[in-house]
Symmetry: C2
Subunit: 214 residues, 2 copies
DNA sequence: ATGCTTCGATACTATCGGGTATCCAGTTGG
DNA sequence: CCAACTGGATACCCGATAGTATCGAAGCAT
């Protein structure tokens, strides 16, 4: 139980840290913020709550972040980054184009249903972006990137499979984002209003070409 | 210029009111609230601002409303009622089903683009409904009614025209709502991301049957 | 070791905004 | 014309919360 050696000779891992590094604290604060914001909403959550959830005090937050805004911003950047990465790195091992679209749609629905909290948070952040010009500009820029990336993916896939939709890749990309958010809005209002297979079926209808070319 | 008669004999319209009736005040407050909430958001707007915009003081608001919540609620009820009425009373004088869908979609886009403020307000109210259970229940109930009405309309139209979509009227209804909101979200983030003809074209593709029945 | 730096806790301030108590003046009924 | 009533103005309260000043303690470098 007693680690005499640590006291008697210089241990190889220096000595046990008592104070966490700034990065550790920053992480804890961010994680706590994610939880508290999700549970209570950004506007209603207080820094004291976030700090308490992180097992610290407000002082710790102000030590690592410029203020509440900065914290929110950092959190959103992280989340959006992660989501983008997850969305781009999906496998596509379906021979049939229809199957591929359906399964991609199903995966999207599942992901979206899994963290409803984040959906709400996203909407709240969107609202914030609408009211605050500087946040809005940054938000729009990031969103544009996400759209472009999605459009590129759609274009590559349809090229590869040799199918052409009625809609351009850009149009499909923005439609996908819109449907994803719009259906989530309805679903969070009333679970029963949006069947799980709706989005996949919509995507299939939209992404695939007419059966008979007109 | 001088209305002697009014002073010399009892006028038929009693005497000119100096103090407005409660209904008049209520109206002025509601109108002011619509403006101020639209401009600054519900959460950020203060009752003092609303009162000032109405040319009154906070006391007047508390004389006609139980509090800020009550005011917000009354305003939303009015707005949603008006919107629903406007949506249901639309004419349909297109022989071709495709034309009909496209023009209905175009009208919807135009209406949605016209009052962006209200779109934002709607989203903010949605968020409020998400956080507050009692508001949420009421909101969900109203939304359900709107969906059902829309679905009934879709069903009647497709019956009349003898076309059957891949999707049920209920599915089309919720999809329409979702697309409308989702695309508005994207458009308010970045005007250029959503061309005006996108929604009509999407609706046409979704509402009309396959060209060749599979 | 020693002194300088940094992290974070504590305690405080400032501000803001919803809500309320009170009072005055316009209205209405008799 | 007077008395009772009521809508609205004024001034206040009070809770909440973002932000800050300060200080002790932990760590790091020489």
């Amino acid at each position: 139980m007693y680690e005499y050696r640590i006291c008697m000779s210089r241990p190889q891992v220096k000595r046990q840290r008592v104070r966490p590094t700034r990065e550790e604290s920053r992480r804890k604060v961010l994680d706590a913020a994610a939880r508290v914001f999700a549970a209570r909403g950004i506007a209603d959550a207080t820094l004291d709550e976030v700090a308490a959830d992180a097992g610290m005090t407000k002082g710790a937050i102000y030590s690592s972040f410029a203020g509440k805004d900065d914290l929110v911003y950092a959190l959103m950047n992280e989340h959006i980054g992660a989501r983008t990465r997850a969305a781009t790195a999906r496998s596509d091992d379906h021979a049939d184009a229809s199957d591929a679209v359906m399964s991609a749609g199903a995966a999207l629905v599942e992901a979206s249903n899994r963290d409803e909290d984040w959906q709400r948070l996203f909407i709240e952040f969107w609202l914030r972006a609408q009211r605050d010009a500087s946040v809005g500009a940054e938000f729009a820029a990031r969103r544009k990137l996400a759209r472009a990336e999605l459009a590129r993916y759609v274009a590559a896939e349809s090229e590869r499979r040799g199918v052409t939709s009625l809609f351009t890749p850009d149009e499909l990309a923005v439609t996908l984002l819109a449907l994803s958010n719009g259906l989530a809005l309805e679903r969070l209002t009333d679970l029963a209003s949006v069947p799980d297979d709706l989005l996949p079926r919509l995507l299939e209808r939209l992404a695939l070409p007419r059966d008979e070319d007109q």
